[in-house]
């Protein structure tokens, strides 16, 4: 007589076989006392296991509070370390990658050579220009000095130019310590 293996007997004891195999097993067990005994052993074992489901006495409210607090801490700690956890991707410089890298280096070198060439001397045009001076900011049209904002020797002055033709300067007076903001609108 051909006997089923232990795995099949173990599955049959828990009703985990398909219909056809279960039917075949039932037929076999009806005439095989040895396999019946094996299946009974597995059934007995299965009956003991649910004891592992017993829980000790637990204070659920206290546990809920602890879990919530610790989860919050964990999430905050996770936020702090997240950027450092970004995986480093190691790419091998072989095949097409090497070709692309080599071409990039060539383009970079050519670009540097072009940019390093001496620029032609600036030609004086009569265009309107805004430039930063030692004492402030000046607006010139051609050779004429049209407007200037002086910062009175302040070390850290902040200038801003508006797209609508405005010009502003903000600085701290070194003597009085007061903040001065000048804005001039050109029409």
């Amino acid at each position: 007589m051909r006997h089923p293996n232990q795995a099949t007997l173990a599955l049959h004891a828990g009703g985990d076989l398909g219909r056809v195999r279960s039917w075949w097993m039932a037929r076999h067990l009806a005439r095989c006392a040895e396999c019946r005994e094996e299946v009974a052993g597995y059934t007995e074992m299965r009956e003991l296991l649910p004891e592992l489901a017993d829980l000790p006495e637990i204070s659920w409210n206290r546990m809920a509070a602890e879990i919530k607090a610790n989860v919050r801490l964990g999430l905050e700690a996770g936020e702090c370390v997240r950027p450092a956890e970004m995986p480093l991707q190691r790419a091998s410089l072989t095949g097409w990658r090497a070709a692309v890298a080599f071409a990039s280096v060539i383009v970079l070198v050519c670009g540097c050579l072009v940019l390093e060439r001496p620029a032609p001397p600036p030609t004086h045009t009569a265009e309107t220009a805004v430039e930063s001076t030692r004492d402030g900011i000046a607006w010139q049209a051609g050779d004429d000095h049209m407007l200037g904002l002086m910062n009175g020797g302040a070390q850290k002055a902040t200038y801003k130019l508006g797209a609508q033709g405005s010009m502003g300067a903000r600085y701290i007076d070194p003597e009085t310590g007061s903040v001065t903001i000048n804005t001039v609108y050109v029409q």
Partner: protein, 174 residues
């Protein structure tokens, strides 16, 4: 109160609700696998942190329970693999009722220890499959879903688990 602070509080409130809703079930599920209260609590926290860090992956709110169960199972299995063997509870932590005599408590505790020794012989996945099927009584399909593997693989884990456990019981009888 600024919008940013308000939305932060709302998020925290939502996360607390999520924990309150699921923590008992997840704790019990993990406890069945590791059989130790302290480890189960730590792993429950770990599972919730993982879940809340990736909650954008959860498109369907209805599937939250399954998704969380899967995270919890994986967290417990990783723990069992890492630790090699589980650290089971001490005698004074064992389930206890006021009506039981000290002898009965001792006997029950010894019996539990006997069962836990058997579980230690199983691999993490065999143990998880056996507990979900024979302790929690889940159908094989759900065990497969939680373990993220096929039903055939789950059957194989269950069969191996039962066979090893039974051999252990027979050895102890002799």
């Amino acid at each position: 109160m600024s919008d940013a602070i308000e939305s932060g509080l709302e998020l925290q409130e939502r996360q607390n609700r999520f924990i309150s809703l699921h923590f008992r079930r997840i704790f019990v599920q993990i406890y069945h696998l590791v059989q130790n209260v302290a480890d189960a609590q730590d792993l429950t926290q770990e599972a919730f942190i993982k879940a809340l860090q990736h909650q954008e992956q959860l498109k369907d709110e209805q599937k939250a329970a399954h998704w969380l169960s899967r995270i919890a199972t994986n967290t417990a299995i990783d723990f069992l693999r890492r630790s090699g063997r589980a650290t089971f509870c001490e005698l004074d932590e064992a389930p206890e009722s006021q009506s039981e005599s000290p002898e009965a408590i001792l006997l029950r505790s010894e019996h539990r220890e006997y069962l836990e020794d058997g579980l230690r012989l199983l691999s993490a996945r065999e143990r998880a499959a056996l507990i979900m099927r024979d302790v929690e009584g889940l159908p094989a399909e759900e065990v497969a879903e939680r373990l993220n593997c096929s039903k055939a693989t789950v059957r194989s884990h269950i069969a191996n688990g039962r066979t090893k456990f039974r051999r252990y019981m027979e050895r102890r009888k002799r």
